[in-house]
Point group: C2
Chain length 364, copies 2
DNA sequence: TTAGGCATCTAAACCGGTTTAGATACAAAT
DNA sequence: ATTTGTATCTAAACCGGTTTAGATGCCTAA
């Protein structure tokens, strides 16, 4: 009897509905399935989850359950499961803005790692709006994330849930941090320029909001001092989002601040940009102003985003192992979620200089 | 009494735990909160959700509830709520690969629209692996998504949940489709090249997997016929991911196939690439081979990705309104989720030619 | 005095799973 | 015949909310 009832339900799936607002084929629930089989929900649950308890059931019953689940196309309800397990296998990722090469690189790494472990992630971007930076991490967790990865996002206080910061602020030791040795990166770039004979070097100083700005600038100052290169304040341009139209920041910013730099009418033979995007934009501005690249102005970027090699001239830059950073961030987060590790992982990665064709010997 | 019990629970939050594996400050549940207030869970639920039933409670009680929820920092459990509501306010997005400019543009639009409506989305990428293309949409829904947006992803059969396809396959009329008029786009590009005097034009033909390939190619053929331009099969290069290392496809692909094109040693004065990325890569290959751009070879791209303007030479291209497409996709999906609309929205957008500097007059 | 009406609040079912602590039936051992 | 053991399977509590259908007490009108 039960069998018949259940079958008719299933049959209704394929029968053309006569009611207007037919809510689609009613999902088979564990209850439906159990009734159909004439078993208890518990037994069915055991088998479908391969729980140890499943071994206490007869082999025949196990087969029967598996077969029926398949036939009725049973799909467990995700929310119900999460409600007991208190685990969602969902990770939240907060990024400044999508579409930036930097972010894309890290996301690719995160994704690769997470998918391997049957996790899924969701992304949100804060567009550097303070309110969003403050609130989104919690929102992500309230939306069910088991933990959060913050990409290059400043964090004002410890979070009461597993959190990993990648490429950002290292002030908080309570959260894991995966970041690049920015000072070393700055040194690499400056040393290269110096080696090519450049002494009058212009700089893009990073945005005030960015966590990398301070370290990278400190690295520049240290190295400049060591190499006896003086930094001319007139050749230092402060990047500033508030002067840009809202939206994802791309080369436009470099173009604008490149023009600003030229407008100061101070001679320089090289620019060390804050990142690749601004470098590419600046090169465009220089070219439009009639300079030859790299003969008249050499440029060094930072990040080595996907595409830096195809800029013109191909961009010499400091490489951040972006994908690797993403992978490490994901690994660390999963570890914290699953093992509840409280140790503060502080992973510092080394940059590498990638020499292409945007730096020429300085004329003297 | 009840009050005291509840308070001590809360107090334990700040007290330093003595047990090793203290599971952190026990979340306040609706039950805790209700007990603390000496009210029923129902009453509390009404007020906190601003349900009509809340009006049946006295103003004083309402205040008391609100205040207590605030003080105890009550956060409703997302899964429990979803379990009854059968709605998650979560949308799944499936893209071919992250980090592509095309995808980034669409994602930006989707995000803007969704966040406005208090939705959150999660992303997954299929890397053109057939198994993933097939299974991921369902996986996303099983993971709790109310609906799915497919970006430029072929779809073999109708899905039993709200689905919108953007930039993709238009074969399935049961799902909503937001796509570009590819034929018109191809026409725009070819007409422009013809107008500049180009007759010997090379083409990158899109990947077999891509939904845009066929239409765009059809548009090329039509327009070429109309303009009496003959298409030399030797100047048509078929893009093919299987010849590339795995990973996100960027300009590398254009570089490789650009070299392939040159290797055929057939004269041509212009290339109409399949998209901007391949155009940028090809320009790099041409330059490395000693050609001047755009004097020796003109290039037209497709998409107008963020950054096309900063390529060298700045890329003339056919603009897809990517962000707008993303927004429309999100709007359409939400409409389907909330209104359950069954009408098949088929939205066709018009491309626009963006003339920059990668096309020169053909020498004759 | 008593029924009706209103304001306020609650009991309990429900969503769809997981899991603990038995229940039941039958065979072997005493 | 009764106990013990074992192999199968289940009842019911639970996760943390939402929602329906009353319960309760008090005031007013007949």
């Amino acid at each position: 009897m039960l069998c018949c009832v259940a079958m008719s339900r299933v049959a209704s799936k394929t029968s053309k509905g006569k009611k207007k607002a037919e809510a689609g084929p009613k999902q088979v629930s564990l209850r439906t399935l159990a009734e159909h089989l004439g078993l208890s929900r518990a037994s069915v649950s055991f088998v479908l989850n391969d729980s140890p308890m499943a071994q206490t059931l007869s082999a025949a019953t196990r087969q029967r359950i598996l077969k029926a689940a398949e036939e009725l196309n049973y799909r467990p309800n995700y929310f119900a499961r999460c409600l007991n397990k208190k685990r969602s296998y969902l990770v939240g990722v907060l990024v400044p803005e999508l579409g930036e090469g930097y972010v894309a690189g890290i996301l690719a790494g995160i994704e690769r790692e997470l998918l391997q472990d049957k996790y899924v992630y969701f992304v949100s971007s804060h567009q550097w709006v303070p309110k969003l930076i403050e609130e989104t991490p919690r929102l992500l967790v309230e939306r069910g994330a088991d933990g959060v990865i913050l990409v290059n996002t400043p964090l004002s206080h410890a979070m009461p849930f597993p959190t990993v910061n990648v490429g950002g602020h290292k002030k908080l030791t309570s959260v894991a941090n995966i970041h690049l040795d920015n000072r070393a990166g700055a040194a690499l770039a400056l040393e290269h320029l110096a080696q090519q004979g450049h002494r009058r070097i212009a700089f893009f100083r990073g945005h005030a909001e960015s966590a990398d700005t301070e370290d990278r600038w400190a690295g520049i100052c240290e190295t400049a001092a060591r190499l006896r290169i003086s930094i001319d304040p007139e050749l230092v341009v402060q990047l500033d989002k508030s002067l840009m139209p809202p939206g994802p920041s791309g080369p436009e910013e470099g173009y604008l601040f490149g023009q600003k730099l030229l407008a100061r009418r101070k001679k320089f033979s090289a620019l060390f940009a804050f990142n690749d995007m601004s470098a590419i934009g600046a090169m465009s501005a220089f070219r439009d102003a009639g300079f030859r690249l790299p003969e008249d102005i050499s440029v060094v970027g930072f990040d080595d985003v996907h595409g830096a090699a195809f800029a013109y001239p191909p961009l010499t830059t400091v490489r951040q192992p972006l994908e690797e950073m993403g992978e490490l961030a994901a690994q660390t987060l999963l570890h914290r979620i699953e093992k509840g590790a409280r140790r503060a992982d502080q992973i510092l990665l080394k940059p590498k200089l990638v020499v292409r064709k945007s730096v020429a010997l300085a004329e003297n």
